[in-house]
């Protein structure tokens, strides 16, 4: 066996907020990291497109380079923090194929090309890890991949986007409207100037695909994630949720669904969800993230922490880096779990959950029966029904709030469509999904 290396050269690709924090930690904690790893971690280069920009006090100008491929070639470990699909994808593949360990925080890339990148790592016998790509500082991917490796995960529900949790929390606790809450999130730097990826659900969908892939031992395609953002959540929805003992949380959900006489399927989706007010996910406030996992043997587990920010994300990157470096020092090949078996995406129409449906109706005898008949005709069984105050501008009306037992999306959509066509129904009914019993 070759002697253990006494130093490993580390290349940083990208040097924004997270990259600068990684550089800082590598410098400030060099001695302690070397003791824990068994070898020094030497930052040999920082690859960026614009070499003239200031990279903060922890990156010396003489290691900054625009020659990204050259930098990859002279490193033992490549840390990719550029984001985006290219050139990040090509650079990571180049590194993995050359037998280099790779750490990445690039959720979009990983959600899009997990299988290809994992296969390249396995073929070269190196580690490819990306804990920081989901839920920032929270150790969630490693526990799912390793600690729960001998269990069967049946459901993962995550608050994986801090911006939207902050917005929903502001709407819930301060009665803010969506636009005000978003503006406040932007002021505080939680939300980007263009908040589409957050409030539209794209960011959460990428994380859902990664959680589903690892948790359900498959490669779940990003395109198959059913995605609804929070842009249409109103103060009225929040109030109705409260009235039924719930709060609204924006969840990324990956469920293993048993199908009669067939293999299990995966229901992976991102949408605003009613969560019971006493559920641990309801207690996740502000910009925090949390992931709630249910497994056959472990039962229920929750992981909570900071989902974004330079230092927290850098903590997750550094955990991957030290773990992978230890492996290099020990001399063994890595093993990134290959997708052991594949699990089919459940057609969204077959996805099952409970629903909270709001129907504004004429306030006269017989209407309730009509409404109930529509639910029943589509096999949607009603758990509770209550009457809320009529919305503004609809004086002769009442709002029925119905919570259903578990039913299929397809049936629910058909129910809503039929409700809308009833003469006694004044507005198109709205609904939210109820999760986390």
């Amino acid at each position: 066996m070759a002697p253990s290396p006494t130093a490993l050269s580390v290349a940083l690709l990208g040097c924004g907020t997270v990259g600068q924090e990684v550089a800082r930690i590598l410098m400030e904690d060099a001695e302690e990291l070397a003791a824990r790893t068994g070898a020094r971690l030497d930052l040999v280069g920082v690859g960026v497109r614009d070499t003239s920009a200031d990279r903060g006090p922890h990156v010396s100008r003489d290691i900054v380079t625009a020659d990204l491929e050259g930098l990859v070639d002279r490193a033992d470990i490549v840390v990719e923090l550029m984001g985006g699909l290219e050139p990040a994808g090509s650079l990571i593949l180049r590194a993995l194929r050359a037998g280099k360990t790779v750490v990445s925080a690039n959720k979009a890339l990983i959600a899009a090309r997990l299988e290809e990148l994992s296969t390249a790592a396995t073929e070269s016998g190196v580690q490819f890890s990306y804990e920081a790509a989901v839920a920032g500082a929270i150790p969630i991917l490693r526990p799912i991949r390793d600690s729960l490796a001998g269990d069967r995960i049946t459901s993962i529900m995550g608050i994986v986007n801090g911006t939207t949790n902050y917005i929903l929390d502001m709407m819930t606790t301060h009665g803010s409207g969506f636009d005000d809450a978003l503006a406040r999130a932007q002021e505080l730097g939680y939300a980007e100037a263009d908040p589409t990826a957050d409030v539209g659900g794209g960011d959460a969908a990428a994380k859902a695909a990664i959680l589903a892939s690892l948790g359900l031992h498959t490669v779940f395609p990003l395109e198959a994630v059913h995605t609804e953002g929070i842009t249409e959540v109103t103060s009225r929805d929040i109030e109705a949720a409260r009235a039924s003992g719930h709060v609204i949380r924006f969840l990324a959900i990956a469920e293993r669904v048993a199908r009669e006489g067939g293999a299990d399927a995966a229901s992976v989706r991102v949408h605003p969800t009613l969560v019971p007010a006493d559920h641990p996910l309801a207690a996740v406030r502000g910009a925090f993230n949390a992931v709630y996992v249910t497994a056959d043997n472990a039962g229920e587990l929750m992981f909570m922490g900071q989902g974004a920010g330079g230092a927290p994300t850098a903590s997750a990157v550094m955990g991957d880096l030290v773990s992978a470096a230890r492996r290099v020092v020990a001399g063994g090949p890595g093993r990134t779990e290959a997708a052991a078996r594949s699990i089919e995406a459940l057609p969204f129409a077959e996805s099952r959950t409970r629903y909270a449906v709001a129907v504004v109706v004429e306030d006269r005898p017989g209407v309730l029966e009509q409404i109930a008949r529509v639910f029943s005709a589509h096999g949607q069984s009603i758990e509770s029904m209550s009457q809320g105050r009529a919305p503004e501008g609809a004086d002769a009306a009442a709002e029925l709030r119905i919570i259903t037992h578990e039913g299929a999306e397809g049936d629910l959509h058909a129910t809503v469509q039929d409700l809308a066509s009833l003469p006694s129904v004044i507005r198109k009914p709205t609904f939210m999904r109820v999760g986390a019993k």
Copy 2:
């Protein structure tokens, strides 16, 4: 390189509740586990002292043996679930020295002999893992060891004993007395007939030592854990805690403490602690466990789940087993982190926290000033003082409830001693520690 094995032989030492669950999972999920691991996991033997006892439906009688050493010798992976110091310790050492992978759930043994066992594993280049020893199903040791490997943990606070959390929760939410709550816990099977290890804190102390060792990168001796149980917590304490906006939780605490002009020290202790009512640890109900970790970069993290029970504990054992088996299949040597640097135990008198002190005094002018002077003489600064109702049988008295700013244990003890000697103080003052700001 030798070809990867297609099957690995697994030996179970001990076959109680957890062992039977591990046997069940190995049998029921054999195919899926093989796909995830890359090799079959064959249960080749179950070692027990009494071979005639029934071991449930998942352990076939012909693999049960009393020849523990012989069983160890013919296994690739040894799963030790016997508990106790011996013969578990000798058997594990025998296995490790012979280059076998070992998984254990034996907190008492690991707290007592972590250094020796880890060294044996490192020397043989094999994995020794024991996730199930702390907080049952909750993945906590692996995240601390690997995911936070590049961060600096400053504090770990854990609810790591479900029995005591159940008792305190019953006292808090139902107003039960300690004895009633304990009796109920015994009825439900949460507490043993002899509850000493739980309510006296011995169980939590072993877990605190393990958390401290991994989290602070040292080997923290069990004897150096300051341990106070919950047997003296009264309904009155619970009520006083509530009055000041707290709940009482039984915490295992491991803190890194900076000392002027010297190396950091470790304060590791187990005691009932006042936790703010809106702190996530206050929301941990019933027999659940949770561990709250603070690190320089990650910030605050919480891990919650089931801390005991056959299936949850077996989940953690299986996670270790599959992870270690993957490593064997990949052909690389393992690396159990050696204690990279040692950190001294902080003398308990130097341990610092806030305190809630209850003093029953004569209800007359000037007493308050006397009391305050004692605190001040010992450098204990007072954060708040309020007057509670007098305890039963002390009519002419008042109870002062004082919460201090952070101060040292030694000073607090001296303060309490001096308070007790004041003529105006009617009973020996009591105190609880206030944590988790």
